[in-house]
């Protein structure tokens, strides 16, 4: 790798870490300040709304199959339904995901 590509790599890596890290430091200071003022330490309200919405957006984006054929869409719908049904009964993480992938894979194979 040439020197300038090394620089780009290091800058991208450090920048990505800072994007993840600096907001944490800011929020930890914010919470500590609230505590020292004997107020209830709490997140800004918008953050407690924004977190679940980011997960919902990730879910929406991840629903688009890599190959957009009818078979892939049917597999996705069935995979989602099976995941949801298993989650409804098990209320856990692992089994619903496992069942969803198996259902998705089975339908993909059949088509």
């Amino acid at each position: 790798m040439q020197n300038d590509i090394w620089i780009a790599l290091v800058a991208s890596a450090v920048g990505t870490l800072l994007i993840r890290l600096l907001p944490l430091i800011w929020m930890q200071r914010h919470l500590a300040k609230r505590k020292s003022q004997e107020a209830v330490a709490a997140m800004p309200a918008w953050l407690s709304v924004f977190g679940p919405l980011m997960i919902a957006a990730m879910f929406g984006v991840s629903l688009i199959p890599s190959s957009q054929t009818v078979a892939a869409w049917i597999s996705t719908v069935i995979g989602v339904l099976v995941t949801l049904i298993v989650w409804w009964f098990k209320r856990s993480l692992g089994w619903p995901v496992f069942a969803g992938v198996i259902a998705f894979g089975t339908v993909t194979l059949v088509f």
């Binding site: 990505t16 944490l24 407690s48 679940p52 980011m54 997960i55 879910f59 929406g60 688009i64 992938v101």
Partner: protein, 240 residues
């Protein structure tokens, strides 16, 4: 939203590893693809593994490799790589309230990807405070290592693997939508959340479908937040 605390039955670190297992289905196939594309773009196996180790951000790694091999100016490569990750800005603040004091958190933030955030936001509030550090370390470490190992496999034998088992790369990534669904399903607890989450999912889906891949997540989430506050204002107004 209410939450029920889970009493851990195994070491927090192992509990994190166990919870993060579904992520592998999504990570490994994408990491293999990255390893393959990176070596095809002229990067060596070691350089490819290094990119995955230190940048550790799916979309921006693909962009990094593509732009470098296309001869794009370095300032543009760095800017675009960071812009794609800008959505990560809201992740750590959302988790901060659950994190016990430790000097290790700044370093552990390297592992805060989309998926680890989604998992942590849902699980952290349900486990005792003293187990959260171990839980996060286990989950983040498994995800990071699977990304690095997947990249290495893709860089060394990606072409052979995708030729021999093409279906595997097609089926395994469904673990991600399934995981996100399981993480978001318990949040459908009231009218306001059903409407807001539903609208966000549909909007993100449509944005990606129409090609706005990088804007889809932040734009849909911001729109969802606007909808949430509009409904809240409307409810307050109607109650008067």
């Amino acid at each position: 939203m209410t939450s029920q605390e889970i009493t851990p039955t195994r070491l927090p670190f192992l509990m994190g590893v166990y919870d993060a297992f579904p992520l592998l289905g999504g990570y490994i196939p994408v990491a293999i693809s990255f390893g393959l594309i990176s070596t095809q773009s002229g990067f060596s196996v070691m350089e490819t593994i290094l990119i995955s180790t230190v940048i550790y951000a799916g979309a921006s790694q693909f962009l990094f490799v593509a732009m470098i091999s296309a001869g794009a100016p370095l300032w543009l490569v760095i800017t675009m790589t960071l812009l794609i990750n800008a959505r990560h800005v809201v992740y750590a603040p959302s988790l901060a309230i659950y994190l016990p004091q430790s000097r290790w958190w700044p370093w552990l933030m390297h592992g805060l990807t989309d998926q680890v955030f989604a998992l942590a936001l849902t699980r952290m509030e349900k486990i005792p405070e003293h187990t959260r550090m171990g839980w996060y370390t286990g989950a983040a470490l498994l995800a990071w290592l699977s990304w690095i190992v997947g990249t290495a496999v893709g860089a060394v034998a990606g072409e052979e693997l995708t030729t021999r088992w093409p279906l595997l790369g097609e089926v395994m990534p469904f673990a991600l939508p399934a995981l996100f669904l399981v993480l978001i399903a318990p949040r459908f607890t009231s009218r306001i959340w059903i409407i807001t989450l539903g609208a966000t999912i549909i909007l993100a889906f449509l944005l990606k479908l129409f090609g706005y891949l990088n804007a889809a997540i932040p734009l849909a989430a911001v729109s969802g937040a606007v909808i949430y506050y509009l409904i809240q204002k409307l409810d307050t107004y109607n109650a008067k």
